[in-house]
Every structure is written in C-alpha cells, then in structure tokens.
C-alpha cells in the first residue's frame, strides 16, 4: 500500500489537483453569490471529491490485490 502511495507521488495523479480546484470553485460559485460562501462550498466540495476518489482507490486496490 505504501509503495503504491509512494509511486503515486511521482505519477500523474498530481494532474488531478488543478481539476479538483477548478471543479470545486465553479461548483461552489453556481450555488452562492458571495465569495465567502463560494469558498466554503468549494472547500467542502473538494474534500468530498478527494474522499470519493480515495474510496474508489481503496476498492480498486482491494480488488487488484485479490486477483
């Protein structure tokens, strides 16, 4: 698991970060008008996206381990 995460540090997962930031901010901006609530919503959306991706990562890792 740690080897996999260490490898991830050097792979293209980093390219997900700008996408997560952009998607979260646009998502937040379509739900609020003022910058404060937009940033709060964006932060929650980013945490939600990262959590969701982590869960999918975990499921795929377990599946690949079993194969």
């Amino acid at each position: 698991m740690f080897e996999l995460l260490a490898a991830a540090v050097h792979n293209r997962l980093w390219y997900a970060i700008p996408l997560i930031v952009a998607v979260s901010l646009v998502y937040g901006a379509t739900r609020h008008e003022l910058m404060g609530p937009i940033l709060n919503n964006a932060l929650r959306a980013a945490v939600w996206i990262v959590s969701f991706m982590s869960i999918i990562f975990g499921i795929l890792y377990v599946i690949s381990w079993a194969i």
Binding site: R12, Y15, P18, L19, V21, A22, V23, L25, V26, Y27, A29, T30, R31, H32, E33, L34, M35, P37, I38, N40, N41, R44, A45, W48
Partner: protein, 191 residues
Amino acid sequence: MPDENNSPAADDVIEIDLRNPVVAGVWAWLWPGAGHIYQRRYAKGILFMACILGTWVFGLGLGSGHVVYASWTANDHRWHYLCQLGVGAPAFPAIVQSRRVRDNKEPLLNGFMAPPRNVVSDSASSWELQDDELAQWHLRYHTFFELGTLYTMIAGLLNILAIYDACSGPMILVPEDQSEKPPPDGKKKSG
C-alpha cells in the same frame, strides 16, 4: 453531493439583477465569465473566467494545441469536441481549421486546433499507421494527449454550469414552502 448550507438565512439574502438572462447566457457561452461581467457580477465573472479558461489553456498546452479539433470522418469521430465547444469562442478556431482541411487548404497557425490527416481505422496495420497523424500525436504526447482532452472537455462542461448561473442565478435549494416565482423585474434573491 451533501450540502446542508445551501438554504440562505433570511438576513443573508441578497438581490441579484440578472439584466437580460438570454443575452447573459449567450455572453457566458461565447466567453467564460463574460455573462456575469455583463450582469455586473464581476467577482464571479472573474472566478469563472480564471477557473474555466485556466483549465482550458492548461489542457490545450498539455496536448500542444492538438487536443481540440473538429472532425467527423469515417475513422475519426471526435465527439469530445461537443463537450469542448461548451467553452465557446476559444473552441471556434477548430471549426475554421476543420473547414480549411476539408477544402484541401493548408491549416493556419502551424496546425493549431487542426484535425489530424490520414487517420486510419483501428484495425489498420502498423505500416498504414506511419502516415496517421492522430497516431503520431498519441505517440508523441502519450498520456498527455488524453489528459489534455479531458481538461478541455471538463472546461467546456464547467462553462455549461456558468451559463446556467448567468441565466438563472445561483442554484439554491429552497424549501418548497419558501419557494416562490421570481419577481417580474428579473431580479433573483440569493445567499
């Protein structure tokens, strides 16, 4: 996505002047953020412009300007362009380049956003692939071609959210008993 704070408190409600929502929607499509700037919602306009155009430019750069092109030939159905077109005017050069290539003219700007030539089918031999420009791009840019395509597609899809926001204002979940028709003056209340 769970979002418990979408209902604004009564004292947080502000009025938004959407001006002409159709005009704002067209501007928002033509240039990300322009619809909001037309509505004098400058902060959101700049935010949409930075996020959407930033994603677009980054994706375009990953594929050296080749990931956005318009083509619908027998061996190359570039459906991705439909999503990329959501970003509006920044995707228009692909249409110009596509027409030039179709008319057997040389593409402009060193092939920027021009469709690939000599695309062969997936079952073609490696010998035939040598002249396939799309295959050469995949070979040259590897994963970045797919990443660039993904970035530009997401930029186009994000702009659809921005267009909706320009036309209708923020999507706020209001309980049914509090929901009411927007006032006829085109103003919308938001948190």
